[in-house]
Symmetry: D3
């Protein structure tokens, strides 16, 4: 392909101009030829409070026009390492979670079977479960999960519904999609519904890094305390509500006392992940965003996830 997976140059076509794709990268079918696909999953039918995450992909696409390709922290130009493309959105069913789950799982499964790696933009956090199901099939073993969030997402059914944006982590562990003992949650904070909210993670040995733990030491110390995920298939799910509402107002269930974008950048750059097989950035609700700062934070997290992907091109 002639574009060679390079973004449209901002010095030729101004960044505010043109049809919007993620990072101004070329559009490729999700079953096409690329290494890392950026994909929208515009579903908010699992949200319990503020909805609107369905507009996340569109608005992150728009603001990602401000994106660049060179990661200073890593001293890497991602276009020299992997072929990244915008592979469009999953055709979700906004009013039917069950159907949407099937579509997401199939859409991702088809691409994964072809050896593609996908970074998804939600959508609410309920989309992560069918993505993990697709990964479980592809990799034949539970994944290691690095989960940025304010919430544990191990909650029980609500209003008689098993699947919602606060229960994906529980299902992922219960279904054997995720290896809880080699996984970690980052940014978790209260308040909780009760002490019993912690039972699940304790029982499954999931490491929960609370804000209190993270801020009780230097950031470098915290990063150093994280495990080496080695070459095991690893998945990163980044819920923008891990950030403080000041940094990510445009989200469904904000919780004061959260991380800064500098902290999550530093953590993401410091992770020792040898085999990132996929990731997502979820819970961007643009109707509540201000001056696009949440969308920018989401775009920035996608950029760091791209940087964590294993290289397929020669340096």
């Amino acid at each position: 392909m002639s574009h060679d997976f390079k973004p449209v140059s901002g010095r030729e076509m101004p960044r505010f101009a043109g049809i919007k794709t993620f990072f101004r990268l070329p559009q490729v079918d999700h079953l096409g030829d690329y290494d890392v696909g950026l994909i929208g999953v515009p579903f908010d039918g699992g949200a319990s409070y503020r909805p609107g995450q369905r507009f996340g992909p569109t608005r992150v696409r728009e603001v990602s026009s401000l994106g660049r390709v060179y990661n200073w922290g890593r001293m890497q130009d991602f276009t020299e390492r992997v072929r990244v493309a915008d592979v469009g959105d999953v055709p979700v069913v906004p009013i039917d979670l069950a159907q949407t789950y099937q579509r997401i799982e199939k859409h991702f499964g088809d691409a994964l079977q072809l050896g593609r790696r996908l970074i998804a933009v939600g959508g609410d956090h309920s989309i992560t479960l069918p993505i993990l199901r697709a990964h479980r099939k592809k990799w034949g073993a539970p994944l290691r999960l690095i989960h940025f969030d304010a919430h544990l997402d191990t909650y029980p059914a609500a209003w008689g519904c098993e699947y919602h944006h606060g229960s994906f982590a529980r299902h992922a562990i219960e279904e054997g999609l995720v290896d809880a003992k080699h996984s970690v949650q980052i940014g978790i904070r209260g308040p909780l519904t009760g002490a019993q909210d912690l039972d699940f993670v304790k029982r499954h040995g999931l490491r929960v890094c609370t804000m209190d733990e993270i801020r009780s030491q230097s950031l470098a110390q915290f990063v150093a305390s994280l495990p080496d995920f080695g070459s095991a298939p690893t998945y990163i799910s980044y819920d923008v509500d891990c950030l403080d509402p000041a940094f990510a107002p445009g989200t469904g269930t904000p919780v004061p006392g959260g991380l800064t974008t500098f902290e999550t950048q530093t953590i993401l750059r410091g992770l020792k992940v040898g085999n990132l097989v996929g990731g997502d950035v979820v819970e961007v609700s643009p109707a509540y965003d201000v001056a696009e700062i949440t969308q920018l934070a989401a775009m920035d997290a996608m950029f760091e996830l791209i940087g964590l992907m294993p290289a397929t091109r020669k340096a």
Copy 2:
């Protein structure tokens, strides 16, 4: 009850103060003793574009603090005609339309069987169908429907789903809940998906008052052209997108070229409806509202619906 269904006075307790109920009226259980219940149905799981109608009831409650009881056009104080109360919200299931439909139908059915009349605040327009089902059971015959909207809402299934906010009118007619030949739609306008969009209403003899028709004559002439609904059980469904986006920006699927609030006030005051059995105001999406103007318009429509309710108190 000592309050005698009077609102809290704004000259004693400022209108910005106090726990918010519709029109500052007393809270009564939906199965309690009252004539007309104002009820929230905070469900937006049927929305096809912008969601957020789940916050409609809360925000309309807040702004209805600005409401008063005397309808100048009718020269009536509603508290002297009917006992109106805030009967709370239906406990919807935000992520399951089918369960929500059952809950709405039961919640309304229980109150209707007790002889209550309810004015609902949505929520998206999908909530009207189960309300009409409850009415059909209560009244034993199809209702006459006065339907304010930009859209026909007679659309077919979308994404394999029969029930969504654009198909309620079709289902209501197909299920025999509504007497199409004695019903009317007001405010309808284009664009359409195709000429076939009009087939359903033509086939069922539903009168469609388009913007072009309404504005081709004086407002008084238009009002005079509407039928007398007599003593037949009649239901009014007021979708705020009947209004122009300038008057109701805070809605899910706005369409330019719509009605003004003055026009819908005048039409509502001019209706000849002898037996209004219920009504709703739907599609308020507060996250898109500006300066609460859509919420004000919704509150105002509720006020006119109260004025149309048959009197139960002696003048």
Copy 3:
């Protein structure tokens, strides 16, 4: 003065540039030498619902940079008719209405005694009463009042307080500041607290032009129905909530079903007022404005008031 009361040209200094004065006119002390003074009265201590009118003068100043001097409807350049200046703001006491009333009355009284005419920008509507008191002293007789508003402003005391933004018209009539029988209210609409709300205006013979009356005929017919105010000292008070919330969202107590800016422009241009002695534009609450449209409407009303001022310069 060398500036000769001309605004800074937008073709020399861009309209977004420079220190902001009303219409980019020169700053003159309120006791200085000018014909018509534009003056801010940034007081919102009389507001019963939304406050913030204290920021009205600042924001109207800013947006009035878009103003021009030639009134097409009148075929007049106001700078050729009167010497208009920005005479600053009254030093109000934000937390004390009584003191503020004294300061306003004195500030206006001093200028009126010098023969100046003032157009005030509020501030909430409570500011009009002390202005009218100053006028009463100056002119020695009740003024004729043209009052644009959604509300009658003849309300009784609230929370034990006689003076608030909803009672100015009552006090003005009761104190003999205004000649009710030769005055008129325009844009009034419901709902009301009760039928008794109308007792005051009926008793005093104040003509109330409701929205229903205005819209029941052509606009030209309505304008023609208004009296000729002749050479009697006349005052115009323009509450931006006479406009529909779609046209003036940034106000304290919006009421659906109001006027358009085109309608108030046309009415203002059609008024037969031979001796406009003063006027005000009140109830702009910028924190609730959107895209400055209410501020623009306020600026536009000021512009029409200037056009109604008697000429002092030779054509």
Copy 4:
């Protein structure tokens, strides 16, 4: 091409999903094979007050997802009449008007020479001049111009610059691009800088339909008063500030007292234009828009312009 110039169906892929193109139509190169190209011209370097029109194309693309293809007023499905495509944006130079003018003229000229017709989305109104220059070359004669605007746009140079968003109409006439005597301006209103602002249009015989004229009769009468543009090459330039700020807050230089969207829809549908060769919708400034209503109005105007294009497909 297999898509046959049909939009992506909203009943298959939800309207909030997918990479955004105008009306969800296929992307085609501006020199490709299509009949009517929708094109963005994201330049705001000619704006004198509020900028931000550079984001117009992106945001109109997004909201045009709500668009449909069947024009009820015309009883026409545009996809059955013409092959419409999104042909991307012109690569403007945001900080150099002269270069941008050259690029626009060439970009449009190249497509026009191939027989394509283009509907542009601005961008501020300065973009219309180079578009008209390209048309002049193509058609070999001055065009008839139908110009919706609050402003005459016949203003002289500002700050020493001939070309800006308020002077395009003057240059178009002076350069012989437009046949003033067969052209018309609609929506014009004051205030003006001075009486001399009208000299230019009077001298050139350009018909100026002011708001006062339009509103002094019924809308149908006004529409009937417009000339038949016959088969002469005709161009429509639609500045969204022809609309009242209530209907189009998101624009650069709003003027109270303007048109409603219903009025411009009706006028556009009533125009007798046999040979529309191009058109534009300009001055959408999304940073000032609220709830996307200006963007919706712009999308709606584009839809009407498409409906005015001569059919190339058999009915």
Copy 5:
């Protein structure tokens, strides 16, 4: 009472649904039977810059639907420790500070005499003075005050008015309501009107913890430096402008360079207060809030204050 002071469950009734009370707790009269009452004081008549704090209670009620009962930092479920209720709002007089002060003092005094403890939501900071007066009467001795703020609030009269939102701390000390030597201010920062602004606190021995002091050490060190307030009656007044404007934009007089929500959470959790008799959260001005983040921060501070209340129920 059957509800046993438990909030409505979010897993049964969605958090966006229902009539809004603080933390979805039951409504109880302020003179009723409960331990800790959450109470609104919607008064902003003491504000010197941005008003709108009158809407604080309503909007904090709404967003407190997101609240939970289990304080992770304290490992406590507050419903197991104290009976907390929403006791409504004080009937303030929006345009009369003196009357409002009397009403607040009486309203609080009556409840305090019954042994209740109250956590107030303002309102501007002027409301704290009459609350402290009520406490002084109840406890018979000056209280210890922990005062979070950007400002000293020891300012002199302004515009001839002794009482305003910047002078409460001065009056509280001068009237002997507060024991300055055992009190502390946290979050204070400049700029000041002059060096003399510090005279009052120096003279009275009030400890002022500036941002510079707080940030010159680790947060744990700062918390450890705070005194043990022992069993002395202690009051906490939390002005949201102690937070940086990034964390609390929706406030009256924001000052850059402030605290984060994580910092105030940590300080509040680390306080050694044996006898918290009351507290308030003030200066939330919702019209300036963005995405409800200030309201969330206020709700969160209320939650921490509840956690500091002495237990009345057995664990």
Copy 6:
């Protein structure tokens, strides 16, 4: 002059009242008699993404009403050290960068020749180059530059244009206006267009303090690491995008992971600059600001720059 360069007192005239000047200081002609002039440069014709910086001076003027004169960190009242005035705006040409550059250079040059020092408020960052040219002429040698920014601003031409808001630092060094080896950049962070983006600063020996460097140590340590700028003419350019988007959303090209206002306050107070000859605060884009927090941050930076100016009055 009788005002003696004191601001209007907020205890006499409320801070929201009056015609707005920077810090409520007197207006003086830029060639008049003062020490430090605060000046607006409302030009955004060099912006590559979001424009709107042209409204920066107006909105910073407005919010600077909240400013005070006593710098607690420095224990200095600036009115006792220097005579500060608002000297108005430069008459820029919004659509012509070259002309604007000439006007800025002349405007500043004329004042500098008279011995005045100026603190500018932009405007986008392109305005700094002509200011530095004027300084170069005045001082006869390259200045030392302290440059707060997210971006290096050493970028090459874009769209064929040498001069834009991302290239000022490169030109300033290439033209010999700035002494790169004694200058420093603070707050710089990625992503970059490529590794080559760093070539320029490396080649010229410009010290780049990245966020990673700043946050890898205590803030005090970082401040101590900065050089002593001695008595060499030094210029500070403060681009508000040095701040994190949470602290400065209202800017043209925001980058996550930035500084806090506390950090820049502390750095500015800790700088050892003996001869600050000028400074600017740029890239405030009010249309994107929320609750004025970016404008407040800009005002605060101006305040610190004033504090760094050499004293001309005796203490």
